[in-house]
Symmetry: C5
Subunit: 279 residues, 5 copies
């Protein structure tokens, strides 16, 4: 599948006046949206559900100088950011989160999914080299792989059925990222013991499946973590109760706590995030 934007974006790599850059970008996005629209939904669904997909959670904060720039200058950088998203849209699917005002650590987060990690790297290289990107501090870049469930196949049938309950419809504005590392005692526990503990963990989560969506990424060796757990919800108190329930099962004793890694944000379109950054 060829990127229909490729041609015009190659040109933009040479130095151009800002006006020229913006014109081309707008055109590219227009053309791109025609070409990729049909493909996107299917691809997106597949990358979000398939095993063997590489996800990158890139967490950014603007440098302090950014906010002292003239509002017009800041706003003028938006189009080139959108162009980066468009340029890579046939290889990398993206989700954007506004963290500013909720977690002090960051201003926003981009979640990337691709069939190869290098696609995510190439996306981020372009993002960080764009006019806005030059003001980005890349605070954290978690990397994970999606896998077929390892243990769930061994759970009792009723638990398996309960875990398949669909989430309630409606938007889920809040997203939470909790990186997890298990200690050596966990990994040195024989597999039956781990399955038993994960079964208790899964059972504790059942009451919250309707209001809290979850997705798991495996990171051992790619980061100083074992898992990235990702949540979406409209009900933060349910989420709070879910995590409390998970802390009350035995498996929680094997979790390593380091630093201050939990990140909470609101799911917002790129357009909105760029508007906040230009305020």
């Amino acid at each position: 599948m060829r990127n229909p934007l490729g041609g015009c974006l190659k040109v933009t790599e040479a130095g151009m006046t800002r006006r020229c850059w913006i014109s081309i970008v707008v055109l590219c996005i227009f053309l791109g949206s025609i070409a990729t629209e049909g493909m996107a939904a299917v691809e997106r669904e597949k990358l979000l559900t398939d095993p063997g997909v590489y996800a990158t959670f890139a967490i950014f904060k603007m440098e302090e100088d950014w906010w002292k720039l003239d509002k017009a200058v800041r706003a003028s950088t938006s189009e080139s950011v959108k162009a980066v998203f468009a340029k890579h849209s046939d290889r990398v699917i993206t989700d954007t989160y506004l963290v500013r005002g909720i977690s002090e650590k960051a201003d926003f987060m981009v979640r990337l999914h691709a069939t190869d990690l290098i696609h995510n790297q190439n996306f981020l290289l372009d993002l960080m080299s764009s006019p806005l990107g030059k003001y980005l501090r890349n605070l954290q870049t978690y990397k994970g792989i999606t896998k077929k469930p390892t243990y769930a196949a061994l759970f009792p049938e009723d638990l398996k059925a309960a875990l398949k309950a669909p989430a309630e419809p409606g938007s889920k504005p809040y997203a939470i990222v909790i990186p997890v590392r298990k200690d050596a005692a966990w990994w040195n526990t024989e597999v039956e013991g781990r399955i038993q503990m994960l079964r208790e963990h899964a059972e504790a989560s059942v009451p919250y499946l309707r209001t809290v969506k979850r997705k798991l990424y495996h990171t051992t060796g790619l980061d100083n973590l074992d898992f990235i757990t990702y949540f979406e919800t409209a009900h933060l108190e349910d989420f709070n109760n879910l995590v409390l329930a998970l802390q009350r099962v035995k498996e929680y004793r094997y979790t390593v706590h380091t630093g201050n890694p939990i990140l909470v944000g609101t799911i917002r379109p790129l357009e909105d995030i760029l508007e906040v950054l230009a305020r």
Copy 2:
């Protein structure tokens, strides 16, 4: 309930000269104070006592460049800060604390209460985008939910009565924030054991209820914490003795210590904090 300031503040979002901005802001605050005065006290009391309320403790330090700005320039930013407080006043109640000169970590703290966390986020987005806000470093943003007491209902009647003793009247100039995380052994203790330990904890606090006011927020999953404990007092030595008493009960063994999170400040009106920042 519609924000009576909404109309005029929408206009201010576009670029204006500073003089124009200030004029409108002053007018808005004047109008706003008329419109929201009656509502405020009731709403405030309700948000400070209801369960299911979302609190945000946003802790800020000015960038070093701020203090090198001309005093007049710094003073001129005050009105737009007040405008942010006014704009959100029908959704978010606020308390302000001067930390500068007491805890090295920060210059000031804002405590926000709202029925939804996103209201607090929107407040902070505006605050941090105001002319003064561009010089803010957001050092910490703790998030918590208020809940009905979980265990207190199971305490003996005399302890329940003692815990309801009213605080002595008079202003309490000092506020202290102590974030708390309990370890896995705590959460894995069966509920009876936890109730018993919390009863000892509550009994130890009784002698200090008159002079030290307390409020509890639940944060599990929203921050790398389980609770934010918040205190107000006029008698720091009583507070010191209270914390000592709480360290001598068994429940303290399950508290995790990480970093340097205690924050002490004096409760001061926004006006005073802005004056200090403009000195």
Copy 3:
């Protein structure tokens, strides 16, 4: 007791030219020294020995830009620093320490004693808003309360007598601050056990009482500490042997070690510290 400097210093809060500021300051210091001289020695002795006094250890480092300022500009800020010390001298007693060149963490430290913590806060607000203060990084602000000895009353008579041995006369140029936190096991030990361990601790210190002066501050709940221990000596090797002796008693097992908090400096008058900062 009214501050005789109050009147003229109020005026200085408005914007003035530097020349004007300095003239008034010099006058104030002159007048102030006449008015407060007699009172100072008594007050100072009282605040340094009474229980219920609030001490603040404010530790500062100059920003890197400071050292690039012209020497004359830096020297010109000294008078306004002295004015801050003079303005608050009837409420806050001060000691100054040059840390630069001994501990990498800081350039200097100010120790404040007052009957209320807010007096120390007000002093530091003024110090940090002075022309020199705008270049200060406030690295640490430990807060403590003095109390009557809790356990010493229960020590044997001969130990009590030994602990009252006066320090040898003569100046003690070195000061050391060691913040201390005891673990949950310590606070959960029944009081007899703690007294017994503190008795061993006190006995180990007896041989060094003549050459190492000590003072204890209680900080539980005000900082993430339980005590600030403060030492003065002319003989650092004695001090080294004292701390070694204290590490060999059982009580040391209950001390929590976090970070790198020990601070060593030389006791020097404010005048000298300002001279070093203007070099």
Copy 4:
């Protein structure tokens, strides 16, 4: 063996105009590539397989100001970087890695091998003094020594044979650096116990030898580590499974976890890295 570039590069140490510098550098590289080409492959293979070789992993991030420089200015610094690599090429072999966009910690990494550590130091002194180098933040510099396998000689014959299985041909675009420290209990275990645990460790790695290349460096005393483990692979999921397998053997219990040291990057020629830095 004399560096054929030595003569012309000595001249460049004096101040010259940029144009002059670049001309000479280009010439040097041209001459250098003729002179060192034949030697390089043999030397490189030897330094990468011999024991007693000193490796340095130098990890860099560009300062924030770098990205605000004009693209042409940034691009103009490339030649002098290449000149540093050429100047030292007869003493130091180099590998370059693009980390930007994968691990937030760094922009790129250089791995150096030489027969003496001071050659690596001299390379890095020149690199960091080049026009681009003045914008480098040297985040980490791991140092290690290659040694003959200590324990492998004592493994059973079939394991020894399995460990000699060649890696599959083809490029391995990803490189991962995992620093390792073993705890005191490990080093205090008698040698037989350690051999037995390392045998389990080696057996767990056998299924991944074809797709994941490994190299071991000894660092005890040179860094706060005991080993640097270095991996290359085209299959990150295999790598993830390898590390999981290694976490399930007993030896993993003796690994100390501190900070966030894992580094992932893509192996890219210096030319490509310089292009990314000039974007």
Copy 5:
């Protein structure tokens, strides 16, 4: 003994033009070298072997702005640095180490020995106030005291004799600093147990005495350490094997590991270090 440089250097404390400063400095160095030459070797030997000497390890990194200064400006600061060394040379003996390019933490280290710690402080105050010093970041300043060996007197005669074996002649270009803290269990072990463990420690070091020189400093109470261990060697692999051997004895179990404190550098004259900083 009076400092023959005292007279002319006093003058330099007032503001002077750079040309004037340099002239006087050059003169002072010239005069100083005549006056102190004969004394230096004896004094140096004495301070490096006597007990009761205060050593300061001051570790520095240049600010990022330094490297952007014109090469000529940087080079012009060298003389005033040499003047600081000369001014204090009759009270403080100095050794200089180039760390840049080996350990990421620092650019260089100065080791000072004097009979009183305040002499080291005064040296560093002058160094950091020199034109080059204004660009120094003082990353670490370890302080230690030399003492007569405490336990060695109790070792068996053959071990005592072995420990007196002279190091092989020839230059030792590498220096390593390893700060050490022992835990409470160590200090609470009765003295016989500690002697026995230190004997094993000493025995493990015997094979490396010829190629690795060692010196020990006591720091308890002066830094959050108990010892600074200092090594010089021409054979880093021997040093690596020495540290491995020391990790295999029981005493190593009582060592506390915090942070990343090991520092490796090459011993180089001040002249060379200043040349690197001016590149």
